[in-house]
């Protein structure tokens, strides 16, 4: 990193369908992040939001709708689509460019006003080859899961364990939508959506208004006792056609290597204290363990079996419950960064892990079978 950028404050409003309207939720999350830092709206430098025209209640040009609700009125701001960690990175770059001292990254998605997620992901397809066969994100994930199990001998039970772990973790997270004590059998016996995926292994459709206030080093130290520093970032996009891609050797390894290099991390398993990763489908958490270097190729199943990624393990993954517990599609990446920040600060409430978290990883993905990945390393 050419310059230190710190996270000063975070806010999130998320969970199940809410009766509150979009504008209020967006405003409250923004206001909370600013108030926690003692920053007035007119002192804020720039705003980089993420929202999607398709996950946005049938309103196009998402930013045109909420601009003034997220402290952007007559400010220099901009918008990202798809992945909210893009906003975090771009907001940090706006500070590093020297144009701004403070930047707000916000992510906005009100699931309850959208159609089912897969009605929307179906429109990620091209109109000629893929749309006609009805491809959507869950179907793509099912193909990926089957291939994963066959190539490495991963079992359905091992995949289900991710849902058991994350939904139980979510019991301690007031911002999660779906939570509960489930057994592996209950996960596997829940409704089979697209074989081999069952309902409890697929993320729900949630609400998520998430705000993260960033500041330059000097400002961050003044505005917060516990600034959390951005140490590394990596992102990589995959090719378009599902059949052209190796679904088990996607772009996450590339994205994470870049982030590790930037953060000076050589052994992620040892040097990362906690990870919040996006696993819209349970088995993906296992596959992402491998790509993130938490275990070797094909070792995801054994890693969950070892309990290392439980709250009490040596590398807790998704103590918040992850995306399986709460899935505001475009906001989920930034929500991971918020959770990682809270853990580093020791402010994660009941879901705080029982160990010192100095370095944490946040991950976001969107598209079919991990079509694009973004990885952020945060440190105390």
């Amino acid at each position: 990193m050419p310059m230190k950028v710190g996270i000063v404050s975070v806010a999130q409003i998320s969970g199940d369908d809410s009766k509150d309207n979009f504008y209020d939720q967006a405003y409250w999350a923004t206001r909370e992040a600013l108030d926690k830092a003692g920053l007035k709206r007119d002192e804020l430098g720039t705003v980089v939001s993420t929202a999607s025209d398709v996950f946005h209640g049938g309103i196009s040009c998402a930013n045109a709708y909420y601009w003034e609700s997220v402290a952007s009125f007559l400010k220099n701001g901009t918008r990202q689509d798809g992945e909210s960690l893009f906003s975090l990175y771009y907001a940090a770059m706006r500070i590093m460019s020297g144009h701004f001292d403070t930047a707000l990254a916000v992510a906005l998605c009100k699931g309850s006003e959208n159609p089912e997620n897969d009605t929307i992901t179906h429109f990620f397809t091209d109109p000629f080859y893929q749309r006609g066969i009805g491809l959507n994100e869950t179907m793509a994930a099912a193909l990926q899961m089957r291939q994963y199990m066959e190539r490495y001998g991963i079992t359905e039970e091992q995949c289900a364990k991710v849902a058991v772990k994350n939904l139980a973790n979510a019991l301690r997270n007031p911002h999660a939508q779906r939570k509960g004590k489930f057994t592996v059998e209950e996960v596997l016996d829940s409704e089979r959506l697209v074989d081999p995926l069952t309902e409890l292994q697929c993320a729900p459709r949630s609400e998520g208004m998430v705000a993260v206030l960033l500041a330059s080093e000097d400002k961050a130290k003044k505005m917060s006792d516990k600034p959390v520093w951005l140490k590394g970032y990596g992102c990589a996009l995959d090719g378009f056609y599902l059949g052209d891609r190796d679904l088990l050797k996607g772009q996450l390894q590339r994205a994470s290597s870049k982030a590790y290099k930037m953060a000076g991390i050589n052994d992620p398993r040892k040097e990362i204290d906690l990870a919040e990763i996006s696993e819209p489908y349970a088995f993906q958490e296992l596959l992402w363990y491998e790509d993130l270097g938490f275990c070797g190729e094909g070792g995801g199943g054994k890693l969950i079996d070892s309990s290392a990624t439980e709250m009490e393990g040596d590398i807790p993954v998704n103590p918040s419950g992850g995306v399986l517990a709460n899935n505001p599609y475009v906001s989920r990446g930034l929500q991971r960064a918020v959770e990682a920040t809270l853990q580093i600060r020791g402010q994660a409430g009941e879901r705080q892990v029982d160990r010192k978290v100095n370095t944490a990883l946040a991950h976001g993905t969107h598209g079919f079978a991990g079509q694009c990945h973004a990885v952020v390393i945060l440190g105390s």
């Binding site: 050419p2 310059m3 999607s52 025209d53 398709v54 049938g58 309103i59 196009s60 040009c61 930013n63 045109a64 709708y65 909420y66 601009w67 003034e68 952007s72 009125f73 007559l74 400010k75 220099n76 701001g77 901009t78 918008r79 990202q80 689509d81 798809g82 992945e83 893009f86 990175y89 771009y90 940090a92 770059m93 706006r94 500070i95 590093m96 460019s97 020297g98 144009h99 929307i120 429109f123 990620f124 397809t125 091209d126 109109p127 970032y233 990596g234 992102c235 990589a236 996009l237 995959d238 090719g239 378009f240 772009q251 590339r254 994205a255 870049k258 969107h366 598209g367 079919f368 694009c372």
Partner: protein, 388 residues
Amino acid sequence: MGRPVAVIGVGQTKHGKRMDICYPDLVRQAVVAVFEETGLSPEDIDGVVSGTMPSMMEGVAMTHFYFADAMQAVGKPILKTETCGSTGVSIAHSAYYWISSGMADVVLAVGHEKMNEGDSQATMTTVMEPFYQRFFLSGAPGVFSMQCQGWSVRFDIPEEKVREAAAVLSVDHHDAAFDNPYAHVKVRLSVDDVKNAKVITYPIRLYDVCPNSDGACAVIFASEEMAKKLGKKTAWVKGVGYRGEEQFFGDSDKATWPSAVGAAKEAYKQAGITNPRKELDVAEIYDPFTYQEMLFYECFGFCNFGEAPDLVLEGVFSQKGDLPCDPSGGVLCTNPIGATGLIRVGEAALQVMGKAGDHQIPGAKTALAHAMGGIDQFNGIMILGSEL
């Protein structure tokens, strides 16, 4: 202000009704063109910025996926920047901040639209929130005609004068488009043709309005070190400005348009420009409607409010005038929306590089590029200069 950033190459497709080519290949044409122009290859690119209008326009969501291969972006970090009509300038801003921050040395910016595969006015109607505005603002002309009326009444400009000046601008831009090999609409018009064309939304007539175009634009930005290593002509980014207003059309003053004024001020300050009319040599203004271009002249400080029609009639902003505007023919002749703002940046860069061909403004050293979007909500500016 961070590290200096340069535009080192511009690639465009021929814009128009491109039923000869599919959407990904349209994007590919612009990307291939910019690689050929710069002599760079995809391996040299540190990051890609992609953007377009809302997914409803062509019926494909998350177009960065659809065009990943066409943009040579597989395995690359990406930003997906979208701010409605101002998308193109916001894409350029993203590339600028990316390099200026020190996080990349070479960034490929790609904007695109294939409007003939969708219904642009239906899409734009969905930009308005569904309860209060959608039923009566519907589409772009409704919004812009109200703004034009508000502006001319506020500054007491006689309707005949506005009409005459708008017609002169339209004729001038349509003539200019003949000198731009990439422009879409190429027709020779007289002032009377424009004034007597059919009404779209009163007082706006057919030749006051931009077309629906298919097109793509790709621009490569580079750090000072990389630009110097390549040793080619470059255009330096001297200033960037952006401002946004609220969703509800009636809540802000569109006749003195604070977002347009604010964006220009921010960019001028960075570029050290105090008298834009004198210090700018050329401007590529986002002008989907003739009337609006005159309002922009005023918001950008080229003249006082209410004066633009007089100056247009004097020829100040014509191709041979004091401050030529839209020598490319502008948005009025070519509007693939997601690419349009980036085309303005590309054209401004070509002007200060001296590479604009038949529509080159001789000796242009400082140029302004602009785009506007939303329900008259967003304005973005980039100033380009021939010297660092």
